[in-house]
């Protein structure tokens, strides 16, 4: 039997539904993440459009205030925790990182499956709250005392706390997996200075998640205990502190903002060299900048709290620290622009989305800098100006590269090409729609229109702007529908293309499209950061079982050949068990929840028998 035949036999998984339930293949797990997050993106988008419909005119009654509260809370929670993070790390990262570093799977394939099943469970858990009519309704940052039991006696906030703790487990597992995969599973010869910038970005996001999530977890545990066990962490009357919630939330929450955006940087640094056929300018500086953005992100949290009465010295420190973020951000903007200018740019759809991303990032960055001015921040807090700022960043800058990446890697995933003209049209529609949707928010924000309020009176001059925003929202929707329509039709009727339609720089373009189960028939030997632009090298076939080379973290020298695990039913069972635990916690059956947790430990033991 040939080596490829052997590899196929060893790596092909069970067919059918059971195969998907027990899979440990990073590509299938990536696809599971993709479809799940897409559904949740639909939910978050529907919530946004309902809000925009409500706000299109003054004194409107499409939804009432209680429903509106749940809409904006769910919208924020969904888009951040259940769309952007799982779409970038879960879907893009899972599918692409092993391919880019020349690996056959993630470092912990079963834990990878477990992250997905926990993520799916937490998503269903969150949306079960909506079905039960008690979705979270105190905003995605859920400030106490509004979120305390006294003012929110229902289950709404319990769902919030438990869903975020549950989801955090998944993200922590995924982040650990990415860090170890990127550091240890790179193909021989891929020293850190030859590692794709995409991987540096995901490394930065993963470190961010690993060190930021514990603060959110602790915060959510405190709040749940305050609400259901009667502790006093946030209860001022008994020695607690309401501001403690905000501190812990933003110690997590600001790094989180960069965790959302950094994978977008990674996608940009993949697409730009492919469509300019030019190496990224200042490669090491860009790599360091990607890491530095997240690092600085841990020291700026209090700039979300300028209006809470913190001491002036504290405010000045955090304003100065926040201004520092400009440096690594600007390094990257210049590097992207110079790379586009230095090469011969082909403005195909993916690159258009990246150019759009750069524009949005610069505009959102400029309004971001304005918040460093403490009095301006205090004036603008809780107005639509803030909404405009962070949607330019989180939708314009974080989601545009996701769209661009969908077009860019579509031929890799399917072996077919998307249709270019509808692709470019979809870009222009989404670009125009996004600007119509979010730009007028700057104006009404400066005019003092408050956020998180379900309606507004007529006669304040806000009506026209809000109507334009709503129209922009529906235009954006039309563009997104065109985008997905294009991809669906292309999947069936697109022109068949070979392994490398773009002459892309990185290793995923050296293998067939769609990639085989084992990814690489021959483990590549890497001699530059753009291995697909060099003659192919490598002689390790490794066809005895699930073999995977392990290399040293910095130099990428071959250290050992490891045997990777095969498919397993345990991750999905453990995910199910944990879902049971959280469901029991919502209804305060603590003893039964404890027993369920014991069952999870047994599942874990059986898994590692």
């Amino acid at each position: 039997m040939t080596a490829v035949g052997l590899l196929e036999r060893q790596w092909t998984e069970r067919p059918g539904l059971l195969g998907w339930l027990t899979t440990t293949d990073h590509k299938r797990i990536g696809l599971l993440y993709f479809w799940t997050t897409l559904v949740l993106f639909g939910a978050g988008g529907t919530e946004a459009l309902l809000m925009r419909t409500q706000l299109a005119q003054p004194n409107s009654h499409v939804v009432g205030p209680e429903a509106y509260d749940q809409l904006f809370s769910l919208h924020g929670i969904t888009m951040i925790f259940f769309f952007i993070i799982p779409m970038t790390t879960g879907a893009f990262g899972n599918y692409l990182i092993p391919l880019m570093i020349g690996a056959r799977d993630m470092a912990f394939p079963r834990m990878n499956a477990l992250s997905f099943w926990i993520f799916l469970g937490s998503g269903i858990f969150l949306y079960a709250s909506l079905a039960l009519g008690s979705a979270p309704d105190a905003g995605w940052f859920d400030y106490v005392p509004l979120a305390s039991r006294q003012f929110s006696p229902g289950r709404n906030i319990d769902f919030y706390c438990l869903a975020l703790i549950f989801n955090g487990v998944s993200s922590t597992l995924a982040a650990s997996n990415f860090i170890v995969t990127i550091l240890k599973l790179r193909a021989p010869g891929m020293s850190l200075n030859r590692t794709p910038l995409f991987c540096f970005a995901f490394l930065a996001a993963s470190f961010g998640l690993l060190f930021a999530l514990p603060a959110l977890t602790a915060d959510a545990v405190f709040l749940y205990l305050d609400r259901r066990v009667g502790t006093h962490f946030f209860d001022v009357a008994h020695g607690g502190s309401a501001l403690l919630w905000q501190h812990l939330f933003w110690i997590f929450g600001h790094p989180e903002v960069y965790i959302l955006i950094v994978p977008a940087f990674g996608i940009a640094t993949s697409i730009i060299p492919a469509f300019t056929q030019h190496r990224v300018v200042a490669f090491p500086l860009v790599a360091i900048a990607e890491l530095l953005v997240v690092f600085i992100g841990f020291g700026v949290w209090a700039h979300h709290m300028f209006a809470t009465g913190l001491p002036t010295v504290t405010l000045i420190f955090f304003a100065a620290a926040s201004a520092l973020v400009v440096i690594p951000s600007t390094i990257q903007v210049f590097a992207w622009c110079l790379t586009i200018l230095s090469g011969t740019a082909r403005f195909r759809t993916p690159l258009l989305f990246i150019v759009g991303f750069i524009l949005f990032f610069v505009v959102g960055g400029l309004t971001g800098i304005m918040f460093v001015a403490i009095p301006f921040d205090q004036q603008m807090t809780d107005t639509y100006f803030v909404i405009a700022h962070f949607h330019y960043i989180i939708f314009g800058a974080a989601v545009f590269p996701i769209f661009g990446g969908m077009y860019y890697w579509f031929p890799k995933l399917t072996g077919r090409m998307y249709f270019e003209l509808p692709g470019q049209i979809s870009f222009w529609i989404i670009f125009a729609g996004t600007n119509l949707l979010f730009f007028p928010m700057h104006v009404v924000g400066l005019d003092g229109m408050p956020r998180r309020v379900y309606t507004y009176p007529g006669g304040l001059g806000w009506g026209t702007y809000n109507l334009i925003e709503t129209v922009g929202g529906y235009i954006t929707l039309a563009g997104i529908l065109l985008l997905f329509g294009n991809l669906v039709v292309s999947y069936v009727r697109g022109e068949r293309v070979g392994r490398d339609p773009w002459h892309g720089p990185t290793l995923e373009w050296t293998i067939p499209s769609p990639p085989p189960e084992y990814n690489f028939a021959v483990i590549p030997h890497v001699t530059s950061a753009y291995p697909n632009w060099e003659p192919l090298a490598g002689d390790l076939v490794l066809d005895e079982g699930h073999q995977q080379p392990i290399t040293t973290a910095a130099d990428g020298e071959l250290a050992e050949i490891a045997q990777m695990p095969h498919e397993s039913p345990w991750p999905v069972l453990l995910g199910l068990g944990l879902a049971l635990v959280f469901a029991l916690l919502v209804v305060e059956k603590f003893l039964v929840a404890g027993i369920a947790l014991g069952l999870c430990a047994l599942v874990l033991a059986a898994w590692h028998r």
Partner: protein, 166 residues
């Protein structure tokens, strides 16, 4: 440079996340302390010093038999750690007679901080039992890393709790 196995890296990720969690809890402890005039508040007695220090030292000492790398070493470590755990839980339950998590914010953070620490010890005990049933060199190596981390975290937690005496 000798390359560490992937499992070792995985355990380091867990340790990093858990250490950050304890950092958050300890940070919360001092945040609450420095926004309260009297600590412990509400007439709660200051924590005793001898028992927690002895207990923490037992846990630190249990790392040494683990490092022997033999089944007997694991069994001895398990014995010390289980002894630690039994006494710590007894002490924890005993304290509940004088003040509870519902008494005030001090009670809340006191029990949550100690409870988190004890939970980590309990998980470690399960690791030991698993290791004795499924002997693997790599398992021994990462479980030793786990216990070193738990011992250091326990020292930090003990120091935090005892800081109320100052």
């Amino acid at each position: 440079m000798s390359a560490k196995p992937v499992a070792w890296w995985g355990m380091m990720m867990l340790v990093a996340a858990e250490a950050t969690l304890f950092g958050t809890l300890i940070g919360t402890y001092f945040y609450l302390r420095f926004s309260t005039p009297h600590w412990p508040p509400g007439g709660i007695a200051k924590p005793g010093a001898v028992v927690p220090i002895v207990l923490a030292l037992v846990l630190v000492a249990s790392v040494f038999p683990l490092r022997l790398g033999t089944r007997a070493g694991i069994a001895l470590a398990l014995l010390m750690q289980a002894g630690y755990f039994a006494y710590a839980v007894h002490d924890f339950a005993d304290r509940l007679h004088s003040f509870t998590p519902q008494t005030n914010a001090y009670g809340s953070i006191y029990y949550v901080l100690l409870g988190a620490d004890h939970a980590h010890v309990a998980v470690g005990l399960l690791f030991d039992v698993w290791l004795l049933a499924n002997w693997r060199t790599i398992g021994l190596r990462v479980i030793t890393v786990y216990w070193i981390a738990v011992a250091v975290l326990t020292l930090a937690v003990t120091g935090t709790i005892l800081s109320a005496r100052a």
